[in-house]
């Protein structure tokens, strides 16, 4: 191990020297015009870094700055906030919003998903149940008028003709054709706790992220369950690494290209169907182990929304991360590229994520949307590429290359207290 550390230090020294050389040159021509960012001429295999960010807050027309959910839907982007639903028309740039007075059945929008076949938006309401928004009309399902198990809805996912709702008292599956409600709790699923935090669907599998019960996998074809629990029990350390899910308090799941990505309050995971891999802030580019949500872009890239910024595993094979944070003093954005313990690049930006308490991430083609406790951000991905590619490094004016440490006050996504 000590040889490894020595080798890493040698590499670091070499790289620092190179970075110092690069500071002497300004090679920004042909790249996005940030007056305060320069580019190093020496090329290296690096991931794509989002450097152009737009912010949306109440000043721009959002009904509230606490953004809990985002869903891209063609030319529209739906935004769920603590006090209303918003829709950003990307073609006109206009934002339309709905509060309770406009027919939104409940003020807190905690989850969103779109039925791509019908174009209907399904809305999880934190304390208000479930709503469908179609053609300007809200339809409302809650504990009293329907078979929904509970009105505190954390997650929503469309699975074929069914809508899943992850609630504080179990999961509900609503068949929109037959009208049948099916409830999943500890009675009929391997749910050690019933506090369902997140739900996602892809390729015949529904994944539930459950507070205290790890991840449950529902096979749509066989209607059977499989559970993924932390082999270390309920310990808040990962006793044996990569032996399973890192912790049973999971907050989000995302299944794509056969890979399951998981966020928890004590680290993140990747599961390829055979092998687990755990990720922690102290050894990766994760800004924090406290994960609020996760979204996998493909088998090798996933975005984790944490309480201290957004951590992006940009290239799984090389364990390369990009960490996006905001300096609470200057409000400037920062992206730090790391590979294991080594910092490869630091990008200082006039604007990054609007707040470090990130609650949601959403892909929109090459662009990214990030919901935070102080507004919504849209990162423009011109020239985005997957994995690593040889390119010049961005260099901050100060020459700083150590990983940024951001703080800031926390505005928590609705979650279990106590």
């Amino acid at each position: 191990m000590k040889y490894l550390i020595i080798s890493a230090r040698i590499l670091m020294v070499l790289w620092l020297g190179e970075t110092a050389l690069c500071q002497a040159k300004d090679l920004t021509s042909g790249l996005p015009a940030f007056s305060s960012i320069s580019v190093c001429a020496t090329e290296q295999k690096l991931p794509y870094v989002y450097t152009e960010w737009k912010h949306f807050t109440t000043k721009d027309g959002l009904p509230n700055d606490h953004v809990f959910a985002v869903k891209a839907d063609g030319s529209k982007v739906w935004v769920g906030t603590e006090n209303g639903l918003a829709c950003i028309d990307k073609t006109t740039g206009k934002i339309k919003s709905w509060k309770e007075k406009d027919g939104l059945p409940w003020r807190v929008v905690s989850a969103l998903d779109v039925n791509t076949k019908t174009g209907e938006l399904w809305v999880g309401l934190f304390g208000g149940g479930l709503a469908r928004f179609s053609g300007g009309r809200f339809d409302h399902w809650h504990q009293l008028n329907s078979g929904l198990i509970n009105d505190v809805v954390y997650g929503v996912a469309i699975e074929n003709d069914n809508v899943w709702a992850a609630t504080t008292a179990g999961a509900s599956r609503y068949n929109t054709v037959t009208g049948e409600w099916t409830i999943y709790t500890e009675k009929n699923a391997p749910m050690e706790e019933i506090w369902n935090y997140g739900v996602s669907y892809d390729a015949g599998k529904v994944y539930l992220g459950i507070w205290g019960s790890g991840v449950l996998e529902f096979d749509v074809a066989t209607e059977s369950w499989k559970d993924y629990l932390d082999p270390d029990g309920e310990m808040e350390i990962d006793l044996y690494r990569d032996d399973g899910i890192v912790h049973v308090i999971t907050t989000g799941t995302s299944y794509i290209d056969g890979i399951l990505w998981v966020s928890s309050y004590f680290g993140m995971c990747r599961y390829d169907g055979r092998h687990w891999r755990g990720y922690f802030a102290h050894e990766t580019g994760l800004p924090s182990d406290f994960g609020n949500a996760v979204k996998g872009r493909d088998a090798n890239e996933a975005w984790f929304a944490t309480d201290k910024g957004v951590g992006v595993l940009a290239d799984f094979p090389s364990d390369t991360w990009v960490t996006y944070t905001m300096d609470p003093n200057t409000h400037r954005g920062k992206a730090v590229v790391t590979q294991g313990q080594i910092t490869l690049e630091i990008v200082d930006m006039p604007r990054g994520i609007p707040h470090n308490y990130a609650l949601w991430t959403e892909f929109d083609g090459n662009n990214i949307w990030v919901g935070t406790s102080k507004g919504l951000a849209n990162a423009i991905g011109i020239g985005y590429y997957k994995g690593l590619r040889s390119r010049a490094r961005w260099v901050a004016p100060s020459g700083e290359i150590e990983a940024g440490k951001s703080g800031g006050h926390k505005t928590k996504r609705p979650k279990r207290s106590g």
Binding site: T118, G119, G135, N145, G147, V177, G179, W181, T182, I183
Partner: protein, 951 residues
């Protein structure tokens, strides 16, 4: 001994089934009367089994084969064979609503009303050790019925009175008639019949009548099994328990009871007549003289392949029945003369069914479509289940194409190669090949499809599922449904904009609105480029949005609608009384205007469809309640709207009875109940479908007059039911001809509104409108349960509270009631006939029938679902106080509604305050007065609702 073994085996089988069933739950199973007979047949047990066997209860299933039963079913709107209808079997059989697994192999539905119909399924209590301990037996499920329980089936039923005209059942006498006390000594051990002597090895064995009955039943076999069951042959064994049999036996010097005497049994059972090769387990001597007594033991000829080959059957010992066969027992039997010819006639059971008299089948044309070349007009005919083809130039019927059941709407593919027909009763679309004029494919869609239309490219077919509140989008290439869009409530008709980019969909029912709030209906807007809902245009204070047609300018569409003032008492006569009839202008930008078509002295009831001339100058609107077409001058209408202020357009014009004379040019009379209207592409001619005249009216647009009636070929005679149907759809019965029965009960169903009927103050005693589907035997009527019959409901009371002119004459009333009774119940969408319950439904059934709460408290009998809502009607037909009284209500007890297809008649409760089934219990049952439900978990309540939807 063989029979003991056989029956013992059956009992063991029953028990094993019960044990196996415990894997799912502990529900008891039906074991059948023959298992009960194991103990209850002996002399010392009072020959209880034989008493039942000789009773009408035992023949209750068989009598459903009678022509009268068929008539009762028809009169009750039951489309199935009575012996296959759970509605009929609910009272004519045992365990009709039980699942297959709840019936043991020893149970036969053909045994009619058996022991377990009154005493409950017997698997848990049939053990002798339990049965000899009354308390234990009751605890294990033995029910001790009271006379009140009998009333569940024996209350007066209008349908049965109409056919049988029997007096009201004297329940006291009936109770005495079926009394079956045990004998004196109470020896419960059954003494089996003696063994028949001389069974020959190699001879065929007896299989028993139930094996024969597997094939020889139903109309295809002329109900042969049931005919036997209704004959005295079937009672031959049972009669040996009668005092008369004992007297004969005594006279003949027999020392044993007749049923234990081989001498008697040789002519009162099959196997003693001729022992043949013995019997299989399926045979029982209790069947008396069965099929094989005359036709020979069936062990070898019973396979279908043998029976359908006369030579093979004969070789397998199927015997021809001759005089000698009968004489073996009947010659000088008990000194009674025997006339073979007469006897044969009496028990005749020909295999070929007698030709039944055909009920006239009307056409009932509803909606039409022109072929793209304009040469042919296709007419969807609901009653004949066909599409009629009319030659447009010759103006005559040229073909009739069978479709599914209740064709409602028809449309063509843009290239004219196909026509698509919605079959409302089947939940399907028939795809008709236009060149061959035959249906070439059937596409399943949602519940009760109504409107159909393709987009301009023909790529997608849109189908309005009127009972599922959804729109099926069909890929016309693959003929598969690719998605289902959300409509409002009861989507009805649709029309696309001239450029084809938008489709407007009318919705018949208002959206759900808060209690005591006016209706808000919807025009759903589909973006055809995405095949998705783009907008939902709210139409305030309106309901029954039906017809729709786009103006050629593409600026707006016209719709027909009602403006029902259901929140004020029906006595109020301001701005057009209770229901006004209107035309809506739905602008492309989502604005809405409404104008009335009623005039102060002449209303325009039930506007059903609208068509606009190609030049955009005129609109033709049908009034199915007054047999007229209104001709609207569109430029004049638009100028009235443009001249009005926003306030006037919102509040004045929609209620202004004086305005129609300014834009309605004329009214053109049609025949009975005009529904669909279409105008030819050249704008010269209009065709109107006269639903209850089986004809089309041809209108000359230039002259604005009807110039021809095209006969679609329906029966000329008007039956009583058809006459009643016409009365139902006519507004002639109401003050100023403002509305018809159909206005509140479109097509016999519901308009989804809560009405304020009586002049007792605004909002006092509001009542939810109830469906007329399948109501005949659910008297009393009215939520307060004060009308004992349909005659009372639709007679003078209707005139007093609703129509406010002279009531129907007795002849009219009788015809009307006849029609109402026959409004068919659509098949249940949640449990197709004969389908097993799903797991959730099964669990829900347990909740429906439960007697204990989750914490093991006994639920009082009166507070169980099944007590008031028992099958087959799922109503006890009494009023109950269930805690639903609001301060607005005058009464606190309300009629128990039936639950048939309850899922499609929201809202619920007497005042329509519950928008969903869930709300009945989550909101409006706080004190467990409407069944004990508050201890249920959410998943249990969900299961209960899933089951209720299957009823």
């Amino acid at each position: 001994m063989k029979y003991i073994l056989s029956i013992s085996f059956s009992i063991v089988l029953c028990i094993s089934v019960c044990w196996a069933g415990e894997g799912r739950d502990k529900h008891p199973v039906y074991v059948g009367a023959r298992v009960c007979a194991t103990c209850h047949q002996t002399e010392r047990m009072g020959h209880q089994f034989s008493k039942w066997l000789a009773s009408k209860h035992a023949g209750a299933y068989a009598v459903l084969a009678n022509p009268q039963s068929k008539k009762i079913a028809e009169l009750s709107g039951i489309p199935q064979e009575p012996q296959e209808s759970t509605m009929c079997l609910g009272c004519h059989a045992t365990g009709a609503h039980a699942e297959a697994w709840e019936k043991d192999d020893t149970f036969f539905v053909e045994d009619g009303v058996q022991c377990e119909r009154c005493h409950g399924p017997g698997s848990e209590y049939m053990d002798a050790a339990i049965m000899t301990d009354r308390d234990a037996a009751v605890k294990a499920g033995l029910m001790i019925p009271t006379m009140l329980d009998c009333m569940g089936c024996h209350q007066v039923k209008g349908s049965h009175v109409a056919i049988h005209n029997l007096p009201k059942l004297d329940m006291e006498k009936a109770w005495r008639d079926i009394a079956h006390p045990t004998g004196k000594d109470g020896d419960r051990k059954s003494k089996p019949p003696p063994e028949p002597a001389g069974a020959g090895s190699g001879e065929p064995k007896y299989v028993g009548v139930y094996v024969c009955g597997r094939c020889h039943k139903g109309p295809g076999h002329s109900y042969q099994f049931s005919k036997w069951r209704m004959s005295r042959h079937a009672l031959a064994y049972a009669t040996l328990a009668a005092p008369k049999a004992y007297a004969i036996a005594k006279k003949q010097g027999l020392k044993t009871s007749p049923q234990a005497s081989a001498e008697c049994l040789k002519c009162h059972t099959t196997i003693f007549t001729n022992p043949a090769g013995g019997a299989l387990d399926s045979y029982s001597p209790y069947e008396g003289v069965g099929c094989e007594a005359c036709h020979g033991a069936g062990g070898k000829y019973i396979p279908q392949a043998v029976m359908t080959d006369p030579r093979a059957a004969k070789a397998a010992r199927l015997r021809e029945v001759t005089r000698e066969v009968c004489l073996r027992c009947h010659e000088n039997a008990h000194d009674k003369p025997f006339d073979f010819e007469q006897a044969v006639k009496k028990i005749a059971h020909p295999a070929v069914p007698a030709k039944a008299a055909q009920t006239p089948r009307y056409k009932t044309p509803l909606n039409m479509a022109f072929s793209p070349d304009g040469k042919e007009l296709y007419v969807a005919c609901e009653a004949s289940h066909t599409v009629i083809v009319v030659d447009v130039r010759q103006r005559r019927k040229i073909a009739e194409i069978p479709a599914g059941h209740h064709p409602t709407e028809v449309t063509f593919s843009p290239n004219g190669a196909r026509a698509y027909v919605s079959n409302r009763l089947d939940d399907t679309i028939s795809v008709i090949d236009v060149s061959s004029r035959e249906a070439v494919a059937t596409v399943p869609v949602g519940d009760e499809p109504h409107g159909v239309l393709t987009d301009n490219s023909g790529k997608h077919l849109y189908v309005l599922n009127t009972s599922a509140d959804s729109i099926s989008v069909i890929d016309t290439k693959t003929l598969k449904e690719i998605k289902r869009l959300t409509a409002s409530r009861s989507p009805w008709s649709l029309s696309h904009s001239p450029d084809g980019s938008l489709i407007y969909v009318t919705n018949n029912l208002s959206r759900f609105v808060d209690f005591r709030k006016p209706s808000i209906s919807e025009v759903t807007v589909i973006d055809t480029s995405r095949a998705a809902v783009r907008d939902r245009i709210a139409v305030p204070a309106a309901n029954l949005l039906q017809g729709v047609d786009w103006h050629p300018s593409g600026k707006f569409a016209l719709i027909t609608c009602n403006r029902t003032k259901n929140l004020v008492p029906m006595t109020r006569l301001v701005q057009g009384w209770t229901i006004t009839n209107a035309l809506g202008v739905i602008w492309k930008d989502g604005r809405v205007d409404q104008v009335l078509l009623d005039e102060p002295g002449m209303c325009f009831p039930d506007p059903a469809d609208v068509a606009i001339t190609p030049d955009g100058r005129l609109a033709l609107v049908t009034s199915s309640g007054s047999d007229r077409v209104a001709v609207v001058d569109i430029p004049r209408l638009l100028s009235i709207l443009e001249a009005a202020t926003d306030e006037e357009r919102l509040h004045v014009l929609p209620n202004h009875l004086g305005k129609p004379t300014e834009f309605v040019i004329t009214h053109i009379p049609t025949k009975n109940s005009p529904r669909g209207v279409l105008i030819t592409a050249d704008g010269k001619t209009a065709f109107v479908a006269n639903a209850l005249d089986d004809s089309l009216t041809v209108i000359d647009i230039d002259k604005l007059e009807a110039v021809q009636r095209i006969d679609l070929g329906g029966p000329k005679a008007i039956t009583k039911v058809r006459y009643g149907e016409r009365l139902f759809h006519s507004a002639n019965i109401t003050f100023k001809r403002q509305f018809s029965c159909h206005s509140c009960h479109p097509d016999g169903h519901v308009d989804g509104l809560t009405y304020d009927i009586e002049p007792d103050g605004i909002g006092i005693s509001p009542v939810d409108n109830r469906t007329l589907r399948g109501i005949l035997d659910t008297a009393p009527f009215k939520w307060e349960g004060t009308n004992p019959s349909l005659q009372r409901q639709c007679g003078p009371r209707l005139a007093v509270f609703f129509t406010r002119i002279q009531p129907f004459t007795p002849e009219e009333l009788s015809a009307l009631d006849n029609y109402i009774c026959t409004i068919p119940r659509p098949p249940n969408r949640y449990r197709p006939l004969g389908a097993e319950l799903t797991d959730a439904q099964h669990r829900g059934k347990k909740m429906f029938e439960r007697t204990m709460t989750n914490d093991n408290r006994v639920i009082p009998k009166g507070n169980r679902c099944i007590t008031c809502h028992f099958p087959p009607l799922y109503t006890d037909r009494h009023t109950h106080k269930v805690g639903e009284k609001l301060w607005l209500d005058g009464e606190s007890e309300f009629d128990t509604p039936h639950l048939s297809n309850i899922y499609d008649s929201a809202p619920y409760l007497h005042n329509g305050i519950a928008q969903t089934l869930e709300e009945i219990w989550t909101r409006y049952n706080p004190d467990d007065e409407h069944g004990v439900t508050n201890d249920m978990t959410k998943d249990q309540l969900n299961d209960l609702i899933e089951y209720i939807k299957t009823l």
